[in-house]
């Protein structure tokens, strides 16, 4: 017997374009806009004490059922341009790996961004001989994740250790898959051209409570669009977990 939907209620606008998320507090998170310039300078001053060169990335632990969801991500960033498509994120020859199998999930992670042309991106995303990345945060331009509907793309990033992507804009299927799987937070920047002001290896912080992206190395801050209703879904671990956590579908054996 197929699971019936009698107890499913539509999650509140979970899969949606960021432009259409209301800029108002949701029930689960209060979203504060950092709008006053003075706040920026206060932030920037305290961050100058950081020595970026040899810091190991420290990131907030992935949300587990008993812990509260992370509100900040911190570590080195990897910087990309516009229109990074799914073939660059995970080349098609690796799609024989099945993401729902744990060992193949890990292997997928080891191939994340192996499709990037080395002439444009000489720094490898994953050090040869290792299977996960030292860059938990991606900074990108417009239309990130365009191309295929393959879920292997956000999965490879999550498996490699990426916690958040901070981009100007997203292609819709990638955005949707990121939220549905809960693998990475797809966060949008308020303004264009931020990736041009960042360099791979910069130490950054993504603050989802204040909706601010801080580049400590460059001493700059940028405004983020609130993740809105997609946030709780990713926090829970994806659409199925969210549906169960909120009582929308009953737990199945």
């Amino acid at each position: 017997m197929a699971t019936t939907l009698s107890s499913i209620q539509a999650p509140v606008s979970t899969i949606c374009a960021s432009s259409q998320r209301p800029h108002c507090p949701t029930g689960t998170q209060s979203l504060l806009f950092v709008s006053k310039p003075s706040n920026y300078t206060i932030f920037a001053k305290t961050s100058y004490s950081f020595k970026p060169s040899k810091i190991r990335p420290i990131t907030a632990p992935r949300a587990t059922p008993s812990s509260s969801p992370p509100t900040t991500f911190h570590g080195q960033c990897y910087v990309l341009g516009d229109n990074i498509d799914t073939d660059q994120i995970i080349p098609a020859e690796h799609l024989t790996l099945v993401p729902s199998k744990p060992d193949e999930y890990k292997k997928l992670g080891s191939f994340a961004f192996s499709g990037l042309p080395t002439s444009l991106y000489p720094i490898p995303f994953i050090q040869p001989g290792t299977d996960s990345t030292q860059y938990p945060i991606i900074i990108a331009g417009a239309n990130f994740g365009c191309g295929s509907s393959r879920e292997h793309a956000p999965v490879a990033l999550g498996a490699a250790g990426v916690r958040a992507v901070v981009a100007e804009s997203y292609a819709r299927i990638f955005f949707r898959n990121s939220v549905a799987t809960g693998e990475v937070y797809p966060i949008e920047l308020e303004h264009e051209g931020v990736n041009k002001q960042c360099t791979t290896g910069d130490i950054v912080t993504v603050d989802l409570e204040r909706n601010v992206f801080i580049n400590h190395t460059k001493g700059k801050e940028f405004v983020l669009k609130p993740i809105g209703d997609a946030g709780p879904v990713i926090d829970a671990g994806g659409i199925f977990a969210y549906a169960r956590k909120t009582g929308m579908i009953s737990s199945v054996v």
């Binding site: 209620q9 432009s19 660059q88 080395t118 417009a142 239309n143």
Partner: protein, 506 residues
């Protein structure tokens, strides 16, 4: 089955954003600047984008719905809906293949239980097509996984292949999923079709809502037969004028993508209307809708008509109900094209929106030509290529790979006479022109695939291809250069060894 649907989203799309009409996912600045330069040189064959009229500010305005809105309304049991609403949609057909099937099945079993049953064994179509003719063990195993599942669930439509050495001895095997869906009658006007592949939008040619989804969403549909979808606003593309004899639908869609960029239709529906569209056969309409995703589009639609109904005769016994956009429907933007003024175009490396006139690329030396995929490997596509080879009478100057999309296409190549050839088949013409023998039907090298995939680009080289994407590494090698083109342009280029406008031969 009681389902509660959330009230329409506060940031309702229509009211605020249609002036200027561009999506908030604006294209990259540098791409936009480049485009401005090239726009100065292109003939003004296109009226500027027209924003639709703003609704009256007092009270609600009664207006009709677009095709996409109507299909989604019907499938969610709502009488009316607006772009921006999130709604639970009943799915008519779910398709998956060998690459995403195993992952989808894994999620289905994990979330619904290892003994769970799919929502409807007749509404799931499982089509191995991506990595078939390879010795890659994992690829072969993935076909086994979907077979085991199809048997366990008694899936009605599973187009199996067991003997990889000879596709012809596998009576059930079809080939490329999107073409198989059409040929086997799974695409019907007014319905909702989802597939674990971005080119699922191909089926919009039949006047249905069809779009690509990931494994997790597909796993959800497998168990429930529903999915939460956001209603997209519709961009209207009016294509009028007589189709010049040297143009194909591929030229039209490359023209459009070049115009609006790879993010121009993000989260939107693309509706294709006009006298030119009406003159296209079903396979050409499929080519048009196939590449909607390359503009970021959610889905594409063509209004069904006699051409559609005739194609469907004998293919399906399921009743269908065509829907059409209302006169008073609201479109977020409208683009008009005088097709009679257009010229053959290509998309240069490394983006489907990097549009250029084919004749302006005539100094680009190429290493090979690839004719295949859901976009350019259908019977009509091969017929078009054959026409060019026939007109020339000469041999190709570079390796020319031919990969029919499905078994049916392969059979057509060897049996249908090419008009004006005195009874020759495509295969004969291809042989006389020195092309490679048509290969086993599958997705082939369109997306690279395992290393031993036929026609995979394993060294950096320049290729003119009838496929759909040319991002770095798409066909295998990261430094490969792919020029996307129509079958006419691809065949013409094969004959000269350079990117060539087909008017050289036609």
């Amino acid at each position: 089955m009681a389902t509660t649907v959330v009230p329409p989203h506060a940031a309702f799309f229509g009211a605020k954003k249609e002036i200027g009409a561009r999506s908030s996912f604006s294209p990259s600045i540098s791409a936009h600047r480049c485009r401005k330069h090239s726009l100065n040189k292109v003939l003004a064959v296109m009226a500027p984008a027209q924003p639709s009229r703003a609704p009256a500010t007092t009270g609600s305005v009664k207006h009709g719905m677009t095709m996409t809105e109507k299909i989604l309304a019907k499938s969610s049991d709502k009488s009316k809906l607006e772009p921006g609403e999130n709604i639970w949609v009943n799915i008519d057909v779910l398709m998956t293949h060998d690459v995403c099937g195993p992952g989808t099945i894994g999620i289905f079993k994990k979330e619904f239980g290892k003994n769970a049953k799919v929502w409807d064994r007749e509404k799931i179509v499982i089509i191995p097509d991506h990595y078939i003719f390879t010795s890659d063990e994992r690829a072969n195993r993935n076909v086994d996984i979907i077979r085991d599942f199809a048997l366990e669930q008694n899936i009605k439509y599973f187009y199996d292949i067991k003997d990889l050495s000879n596709f012809k001895v596998n009576p059930d095997y079809k080939g490329v999923c999107h073409i198989a869906l059409a040929q086997e009658g799974h695409c019907r006007p007014g319905e909702v079709l989802l597939g674990t592949d971005s080119h699922t939008c191909n089926a919009g040619a039949f006047g249905q809502f069809a779009t690509g989804i990931g494994n997790t969403d597909a796993g959800f549909v497998m168990g429930t037969g529903k999915l939460l979808l956001k209603v997209p606003p519709t961009m209207r593309f009016v294509l009028d004028g007589e189709m010049p004899h040297y143009l194909l639908a591929k030229d039209l869609i490359l023209q459009i993508i070049g115009e609006i960029t790879v993010a121009g239709a993000t989260y939107k529906s693309m509706e294709f209307v006009g006298s030119t569209v009406e003159s296209l056969n079903m396979e050409e309409r499929m080519t048009l809708c196939n590449m909607v995703v390359e503009a970021g589009g959610k889905n594409g639609v063509v209004p069904p008509d006699e051409t559609t109904f005739k194609y469907l005769e004998g293919k399906t016994s399921v009743n269908y109900e065509p829907v059409y956009s209302d006169e008073s429907a609201k479109f977020i933007s409208e683009y008009r094209f005088d097709v009679s003024k257009l010229e053959p175009v290509v998309a240069k490396p490394h983006s489907p929106d990097n549009r250029a006139l084919a004749r302006e690329c005539k100094d680009v030396k190429i290493d090979r030509v690839y004719i295949g995929s859901c976009t350019g490997g259908k019977t009509e596509d091969f017929m078009a290529a054959a026409k060019v080879f026939l007109a020339s009478g000469k041999k190709v100057k570079v390796p020319t790979f031919l990969v029919p999309a499905t078994q049916k296409v392969w059979i057509d190549l060897y049996s249908l006479p090419v008009p004006g050839s005195g009874g020759k088949t495509c295969s004969q013409i291809f042989e006389e022109a020195g092309c490679d023998t048509p290969a086993s039907p599958s997705c082939g090298a369109c997306l690279g695939g395992p290393r031993d995939t036929y026609a995979r680009m394993n060294e950096p080289m320049v290729c003119v291809s009838t496929t759909n994407r040319n991002f770095p590494g798409r066909m295998g090698h990261k430094e490969g250069q792919i020029y996307l083109a129509s079958p006419y342009t691809a065949a013409a280029s094969a004959l000269t060894g350079y990117v060539t406008d087909p008017r050289e031969f036609l």
